[in-house]
């Protein structure tokens, strides 16, 4: 009975909110305009040079020379070799889950290929393979610089450089050391990378803003004073106010992805269920942030200010505008606290790399924790009193 009444009140608030929203042309327009304008604006963004990409390697040859090659690749600072894989399949799986951006496969016949290269020069096979998560074209651009890394050899066994040089005289243009295998975005179109990110950015902007403003507006117009003298409970008000925006958030996701697929031919590799689950978790996280802001801001203007205050660092540090791997460490630590950072990884993972949501759970739980913390703080701050 109690629960039923509670649900009744939540539904009443939600329905009221939708009614008001429908009549508020400006807000209603923003629901549609923000995604489309942003999409067009960011659709053609600029790429950056990236360093310190998380990488892993599988070394089937495991010779001194192959280890030297890996060490040199690491020393280039383009990649940071953080793990060793036991198979190429494992490498690919890590790549899909977003744990690494680059994978190096050194074949078992590495030494022979090294010999071939000296003998046949240009026509020889590449020495090793490099797998790149090219969903961010910037990543691929940086890795391209590694492809012609000269293969190091142990000096003891090796003839001196000048003699070695004469041994392959006539070979002026050696074959690339690595053969690149770009994954997920072989054409390296930036839109492919930007559009899923935009889903996150747009949700951050609209969800936080709408919720914070929705509650502050009640306070500003005096209706909160009326509502808190009714049997309505704070949590009912919050949930009832949030629900319509969850729906709006999902509509926006559909809008961005739809337009993205249509105009920018972004591949959508995720199942709808996975997309919805990922979006729901992130929407909830953003809405709870909006709720917290609404308990702090006294006017709609303050709510706007606080929203942008929370929005800007997320925009800059989450990996949407600048590649995450290229940022200095402290910035990365801060970014790890932001919901958008995690959501970008999830949504790119499932949309571009075809990962399942369960495979991305290591990025989902930080979002859930964030939502829980925000909700607790907000509920603590929102009391059914005016003081």
């Amino acid at each position: 009975m109690k629960l039923l009444e509670s649900v009744g009140r939540i539904v009443a608030i939600s329905r009221k909110e939708i009614r008001q929203l429908r009549r508020d042309r400006l807000t209603f327009g923003m629901v549609v305009a923000i995604p489309i304008v942003q999409l067009v604006l960011f659709g053609y963004a600029i790429n950056e040079d990236v360093r310190h990409l998380r990488a892993a390697a599988v070394d089937y040859a495991n010779t001194q020379n192959s280890r030297l090659l890996l060490a040199d690749a690491h020393a280039s600072q383009v990649i940071d070799l953080v793990r060793k894989a036991s198979s190429a399949e494992e490498l690919e799986e890590w790549l899909r889950r977003g744990e690494i951006r680059v994978g190096i496969v050194i074949p078992a016949d590495y030494e022979r290929r090294l010999e071939d290269r000296k003998r046949h020069g240009r026509s020889a096979r590449p020495l090793a393979q490099i797998l790149v998560d090219a969903s961010d074209p910037a990543t691929y651009g940086s890795v391209a610089g590694l492809l012609n890394l000269p293969p190091p050899e142990r000096p003891g066994i090796q003839p001196p450089r000048w003699r070695y040089g004469s041994a392959i005289s006539g070979v002026s243009n050696p074959p690339p050391t690595f053969e690149a295998r770009p994954f997920y975005n072989p054409e390296r179109r930036s839109a492919v990378h930007i559009v899923p990110g935009l889903v996150g950015v747009i949700l951050t902007m609209t969800m936080v803003l709408f919720t914070s403003v929705a509650i502050v507006r009640e306070r500003e117009r005096g209706s909160l004073e009326l509502l808190i003298t009714t049997p309505m409970k704070p949590v009912e008000l919050m949930v009832g106010k949030i629900l319509p925006y969850v729906l709006i958030g999902l509509i926006q996701v559909g809008l961005v992805l739809g337009v993205g697929a249509l105009i920018f031919r972004v591949p959508l590799r995720a199942t709808p269920q996975d997309t919805i689950v990922a979006a729901l978790v992130f929407i909830t996280a953003s809405l709870t942030l909006g709720l917290l802001i609404s308990t702090i801001a006294k006017t709609q203007f303050q709510a706007f200010q606080l929203t942008f205050f929370s929005f800007l660092p997320q925009m800059l540090l989450s990996g949407f505008m600048f590649p995450f791997d290229a940022m200095p460490r402290p910035a990365q630590w801060i970014a790890e606290l932001m919901p958008l950072t995690h959501f970008l990884r999830v949504i790119r993972g499932i949309l571009l790399r075809g990962a399942r949501v369960v495979e991305m759970r290591h990025e989902i739980w930080p979002l859930a924790v964030f939502a829980l913390v925000m909700l607790t703080l907000a509920a603590g701050r929102f009391r059914k009193r005016l003081d």
Binding site: E225, K384, L386
Partner: protein
């Protein structure tokens, strides 16, 4: 029924501070059931703050209050279904229609759909809003908005109704109508606590408390207050009020002097004997003024009690 059981509101030493400002200062109240209880006071005298504390919207800094037998603010949740509150500002949703506003609040109060509909119909009829049913609340006139706010406040048939300056945005005719509605509610058993700064409204109340600078400076029935006023009221009819004013300025025992057209209203200390004679003494013979003692009205009461406060 014992006397205390009939008190719907009791407060002892109710106090609220905002920083160094004492908005409400040790207010003791007793509001009997089914009465229309008025709060009279100028702006900033603590009327709204007192009402908010009694609703459980604000926590008292000191003192305690019982409303409908419940301690506030501790048990304020239990009051929600039994109390109606009409805020000073129109606080319904301007972008919802008249019906939608009431329907929404009905749902918040968990009124059953069929009962809700019939109750809304009754109220729309009673408060002459039936033809405005589909109109957005924001486009209603001042009087209509006020009647809608009243309908919203009594939708769930509360035992106690708080009205915070309900008529401040309304013309005199609507104000008269509104008071008819208030008495109708009181007749039906609802206790009404209504704040106002209009004397003629205050005079209609069964009981009245006068607030000034957060303190309760007088209370009782309007008649009692007027009878007990600690001053003599003298009215002077004159062709030249300005001149008379000047002549009276230094008179001993003069509490206040106000001009109403060609009349001057004087409040004199009770101790002043033979007030008419005393006043005539002060005036020039040729002033052509008629002087008489009149019955005090509520404004006189107000001037006297709030004057004491200052001195």
């Amino acid at each position: 029924m014992s006397e205390s059981a009939e008190q719907v509101i009791r407060s002892q030493g109710l106090t609220r501070r905002f920083g160094s400002l004492v908005a409400v200062d040790h207010v003791d109240l007793e509001v009997p059931k089914a009465s229309v209880y008025g709060f009279l006071g100028p702006n900033g005298s603590g009327k709204t703050t007192t009402i908010r504390m009694l609703c459980g919207l604000l926590e008292p800094s000191e003192g305690k209050a019982q409303v409908l037998g419940l301690e506030v603010p501790k048990e304020a949740e239990g009051l929600r279904r039994r109390v109606g509150y009409m805020t000073q500002r129109f606080s319904l949703f301007e972008d919802l229609s008249v019906f939608e506003n009431l329907d929404f609040l009905g749902e918040i109060h968990s009124l059953k759909a069929s009962h809700r509909r019939s109750r809304i119909d009754t109220l729309l009829e009673r408060y002459r809003l039936a033809d405005r049913r589909k109109q957005r609340a924001g486009t209603l006139s001042g009087g209509q908005k006020q009647r809608l706010a009243l309908a919203a406040a009594v939708l769930h048939e509360p035992e106690l109704l708080f009205l915070d300056e309900p008529t401040s945005a309304v013309d005199p005719e609507n104000r008269r109508d509104f008071w008819e509605s208030i008495f109708q509610l009181a007749d039906e058993g609802t206790t009404v606590l209504c704040s106002t700064h209009y004397m003629e409204e205050a005079e209609r109340c069964h009981l009245l408390a006068i607030l000034d600078h957060g303190k309760l400076v007088a209370n009782g029935t309007p008649q009692q207050l007027m009878d007990d006023v600690d001053a003599t009221v003298v009215e002077i009819q004159t062709e030249d009020p300005r001149r008379v004013r000047e002549q009276l300025a230094g008179m001993t025992g003069l509490l206040s002097l106000a001009q109403l057209g060609n009349r001057l209203r004087l409040l004199l200390h009770r101790e002043v004997e033979n007030p008419v004679w005393q006043v005539e003494e002060e005036l020039d013979i040729d002033a052509g003024a008629t002087v008489q003692v009149v019955r005090p009205n509520l404004e006189d009461v107000f001037v006297v009690v709030t004057r004491d406060e200052v001195s």
